[in-house]
C-alpha cells in the first residue's frame, strides 16, 4: 500500500466506527430517552420507569462507555496502520 492508500483505508475504517457509535449514541438518548420514552415507561426496573431512567441516568452511562470503546478501537486501528506513537 502506498502511504496515500493507507491513509484512505484508515480513514474509511475510522468513519465506520464513528457512524456505528453515533447510531448507538442517538438510540440511547433521543430514542430511549425521548422518542420511545412513553413506551419504555410501561416497563419498571425497581422504582425506575425505564424511559425516565434512560433520560436521566442510562444515556449518560452509555455516553461514557461509548467514548472509551472509541478510544480502544482507535488505539488498535492506529497500531494496525502504524500511526501509533
Amino acid at each position: 500500500m502506498t502511504s496515500q492508500e493507507k491513509a484512505k483505508a484508515y480513514w474509511k475504517e475510522n468513519i465506520r466506527y464513528v457512524i456505528i457509535l453515533l447510531v448507538i449514541w442517538f438510540l440511547v438518548s433521543y430514542g430511549a430517552g425521548i422518542l420511545f420514552k412513553d413506551a419504555l415507561n410501561t416497563i419498571k426496573i425497581g422504582g425506575f420507569k425505564l424511559g425516565f431512567w434512560f433520560a436521566q441516568q442510562g444515556a449518560i452511562y452509555v455516553f461514557v462507555i461509548l467514548i472509551f470503546i472509541y478510544v480502544r478501537l482507535m488505539n488498535k486501528l492506529d497500531k494496525k496502520y502504524g500511526y501509533d506513537e
Partner: protein, 576 residues
C-alpha cells in the same frame, strides 16, 4: 437557651465556611505561584504536555460551572423528567467532541478555535467571524459565573454581594494572569476534587437518610427507608399530581421541544471554545481522545447524582412544608425567607402553607437555586457539610470563570493582535498583551457580575445556540469534508448566527414586537433554547449549497485536511 444553641450552631457554620474556603483558596494560590507561565505556549495551551488525567479533571472543572453545581439539581427538581434535556444535553456533547472534533483539532496543533477556522478556511474574514463568536459566547458565560461567586460569598460569608464579586475577581485575576492556561489547568484539577467532594457528601448522607442506600444513583430508584414499601419516585409522582403538578417522571414539555433542546445543548457543548481549547493542551492525539473520555466520566459522577438530589430535595421540601402551619416551619425556612428566595403569602388566611400548581391558590414561591444550597440544612446535616457546599460552589464558579477568561484573552492577544493586526509582535510582547487582555476581561466580567443585565439567564440559551450555529458545523465540515471552502463556511456561519440571533431577539426578548410572542407562534413548536438545533442544520445546508457553486479550496488546504486525519506526528502545539 434555645436561642443560644442556635447562635452557636450558626457561628459554627460560619467558622467552618471560613476555614474550608480559606484552605481551598490557599491551595489555588499556591498552585498558581508554582505553575507560572513563562512563554505564550504555556500561557495558551499549558505547554502542550498535560497528562490525559489532569486534562480530564481540568476539563470537568472547567465545564461544571456554578450553574451545574448550584442550579441544575434545582431546575430538575422543579422540571422533573424535562430536566433530562440538561442531563443528556450537557453530557452527550462530549461524545461528539471525542469522535468528531478533539483528536483532529489536537493534530492540527494550534492555540485557539479561531486559529483552526482561519487557517482551514484560508481567510481572515472567517477568523474574525470566529473571534467575534468566541468573545460573545465567553462573555455571556463569564458574567453568570461572577454573579455565582458573588451569591455564594454573600450567602455564606455574609459580605455584600458586590464585595463577593470583587474578591472573586481578585482571586481569578491572580492565577489566570500569572499562570495562564498552565496555572488554570492545575488549579482546576484541585477545584474538581473540591467540587465533586462537596457535591457528593450531602447527596450520600441524604440518600442514606431517605432510602438507606448509600449510592444516590440507585437510592432515588429504591424504596423509602420508612418501611412503607413505597418506591421514592412513586411517592413523588403521587405528591406532585395531588398538588396539581405534572407527574414528576413525565414532565410537561412537548416531545419536539425536548428533542430540539437536547440536540442544541449537545452540539453547543461540542462547539464551545473554552471546552475545545482544553484538548489542545495534551501531548498526543490519542491523549485527546482518552482525556475526553476521562472528562465525561468525571462529569458523569455529578450529572448522574444531580437527578437523585433533585428527587430527594423535592420530596423533602413538599413533605416539610405542604399543608403545614406556617408558625411551625423549621429554622431553615425562616432563614431563607429573609433572603427573599422563599416567599409565603397566606392568601386564604388559614395559617397553613398551600403549595399547589394553581397560581391563584399557590401561597409558596421557592427559588430553584436554593435547592442544592439549602438541601443539607433541610436534611439536618452537620455544619461542616453545609460549609463544604459553599467551598464547592466557589470552586465550580471560579474554575469555569478562569477557563472562559483565558479564551477571551487569547482571542484578543493571539487571534486579533498576533494574527491580524501585528504579525511581527515578539513572543514577549504577545505574552504581555495576553496578560493585559486577561486583566481587561476580568474587569468587564466583574462589571457584569456587579451590574448583571437582566437578560443574563436568557443569553445562556444564546451562548449554546451560537456555538451550535457557528463553530460546530464549520469545524466538522472542515475535518470531514475536504472540499468545503471558505465561501461555504463563512456563509454558513453568518447565516447560522443571524437566524439564531433573530429567533432569540424575537421570541426571548420580544424586541421585534411589543411583547414576547406566545408559544403558539414558535417555529415548529421549538423554544428559543432549542432553536440552536435548527440554526445548526441551516448552517450545514447553507455551507454545502454555497460550496457547490464556488471553487474548491487550494490544494495546500486539502493537504492540511488529509494531514489532520492521520493521528501520528502531532508534535507540539506551535505558533507557526
Amino acid at each position: 437557651m434555645m436561642n443560644n444553641a442556635l447562635l452557636i450552631d450558626a457561628i459554627n457554620v460560619q467558622n467552618w465556611t471560613y476555614i474550608l474556603v480559606g484552605i481551598t483558596f490557599a491551595i489555588y494560590i499556591s498552585i498558581a505561584i508554582w505553575s507560572r507561565a513563562s512563554s505564550t505556549k504555556e500561557f495558551y495551551v499549558a505547554g502542550g504536555g498535560v497528562s490525559p488525567w489532569a486534562n480530564g479533571m481540568a476539563t470537568a472543572a472547567d465545564w461544571m460551572s456554578a450553574a451545574s453545581f448550584i442550579g441544575m439539581a434545582g431546575i430538575i427538581s422543579f422540571a422533573g423528567y424535562d430536566g433530562a434535556v440538561y442531563l443528556m444535553g450537557w453530557t452527550g456533547g462530549y461524545v461528539l467532541l471525542a469522535l468528531l472534533l478533539a483528536p483532529y483539532l489536537r493534530k492540527f496543533g494550534k492555540f485557539t478555535v479561531p486559529d483552526f477556522i482561519g487557517d482551514r478556511y484560508y481567510s481572515d474574514t472567517a477568523r474574525i467571524v470566529a473571534v467575534i463568536c468566541a468573545l460573545l459566547v465567553s462573555f455571556t458565560y463569564v458574567a453568570g459565573q461572577m454573579r455565582g461567586v458573588g451569591i455564594v460569598f454573600s450567602r455564606f460569608l455574609e459580605v455584600d454581594i458586590n464585595t463577593g464579586v470583587i474578591i472573586g475577581m481578585l482571586i481569578v485575576l491572580f492565577y489566570a494572569v500569572l499562570g495562564g492556561m498552565k496555572g488554570i489547568t492545575y488549579t482546576q484539577v484541585a477545584q474538581y476534587c473540591v467540587l465533586i467532594f462537596a457535591f457528593m457528601v450531602p447527596a450520600i448522607f441524604i440518600s442514606i437518610q431517605m432510602t438507606g442506600n448509600p449510592v444516590p444513583q440507585f437510592g432515588f430508584g429504591s424504596e423509602l427507608a420508612d418501611g412503607s414499601g413505597t418506591y421514592l419516585l412513586d411517592k413523588l409522582d403521587g405528591l406532585s399530581t395531588e398538588l396539581g403538578f405534572a407527574e414528576y417522571t413525565n414532565g410537561s414539555k412537548s416531545l419536539i421541544d425536548v428533542f430540539a433542546i437536547t440536540l442544541a445543548l449537545m452540539v453547543g457543548t461540542a462547539g464551545l471554545p473554552h471546552v475545545i481549547v482544553r484538548f489542545f493542551t495534551v501531548k498526543r492525539v490519542k491523549d485527546a481522545r482518552k482525556s475526553a473520555g476521562i472528562a465525561l466520566l468525571l462529569i458523569a459522577v455529578l450529572y448522574t447524582t444531580a437527578p437523585a438530589v433533585a428527587v430527594f430535595a423535592r420530596t423533602n421540601m413538599i413533605e416539610t412544608v405542604s399543608n403545614q402551619p406556617y408558625n411551625n416551619v423549621p429554622q431553615w425556612f425562616k432563614k431563607w425567607e429573609t433572603t427573599g428566595l422563599i416567599t409565603f403569602t397566606d392568601k386564604n388566611n388559614d395559617g397553613l402553607i398551600q403549595y399547589v400548581a394553581d397560581e391563584s391558590q399557590n401561597e409558596l414561591v421557592v427559588d430553584r437555586d436554593i435547592m442544592v444550597l439549602a438541601n443539607p440544612e433541610i436534611a439536618n446535616l452537620p455544619n461542616w457539610v453545609i460549609a463544604l457546599v459553599a467551598a464547592g460552589g466557589l470552586a465550580a464558579a471560579l474554575s469555569t470563570a478562569a477557563g472562559l477568561l483565558l479564551v477571551i484573552s487569547s482571542s484578543v492577544s493571539h487571534d486579533l493582535i498576533k494574527k491580524v493586526y501585528n504579525p511581527n509582535i515578539s513572543e514577549k510582547g504577545e505574552l504581555i498583551a495576553a496578560r493585559i487582555s486577561a486583566v481587561g476581561a476580568v474587569c468587564i466580567a466583574g462589571y457584569f457580575g456587579i451590574n448583571p443585565p437582566d437578560f443574563v439567564a436568557a443569553v445562556v440559551a444564546l451562548a449554546f445556540g451560537l456555538a451550535a450555529a457557528s463553530f460546530f458545523p464549520a469545524i466538522v465540515l472542515g475535518i470531514f469534508y475536504k472540499r468545503m471552502n471558505k465561501e461555504g463556511a463563512v456563509a454558513g456561519m453568518v447565516v447560522g448566527i443571524a437566524i439564531m440571533l433573530y429567533y432569540i431577539v424575537k421570541f426571548k426578548f420580544g424586541w421585534l414586537n411589543d411583547t414576547i410572542p406566545d408559544k403558539n407562534e414558535w417555529w415548529f413548536g421549538i423554544s428559543p433554547e432549542g432553536f440552536g438545533a435548527v440554526a445548526m442544520v441551516v448552517n450545514f445546508v447553507v455551507s454545502i449549497v454555497v460550496m457547490k457553486f464556488t471553487k474548491a479550496p487550494p490544494s495546500v488546504v486539502q493537504d492540511i485536511v488529509e494531514n489532520i486525519r492521520i493521528p501520528s506526528g502531532a508534535g507540539e502545539a506551535s505558533n507557526h
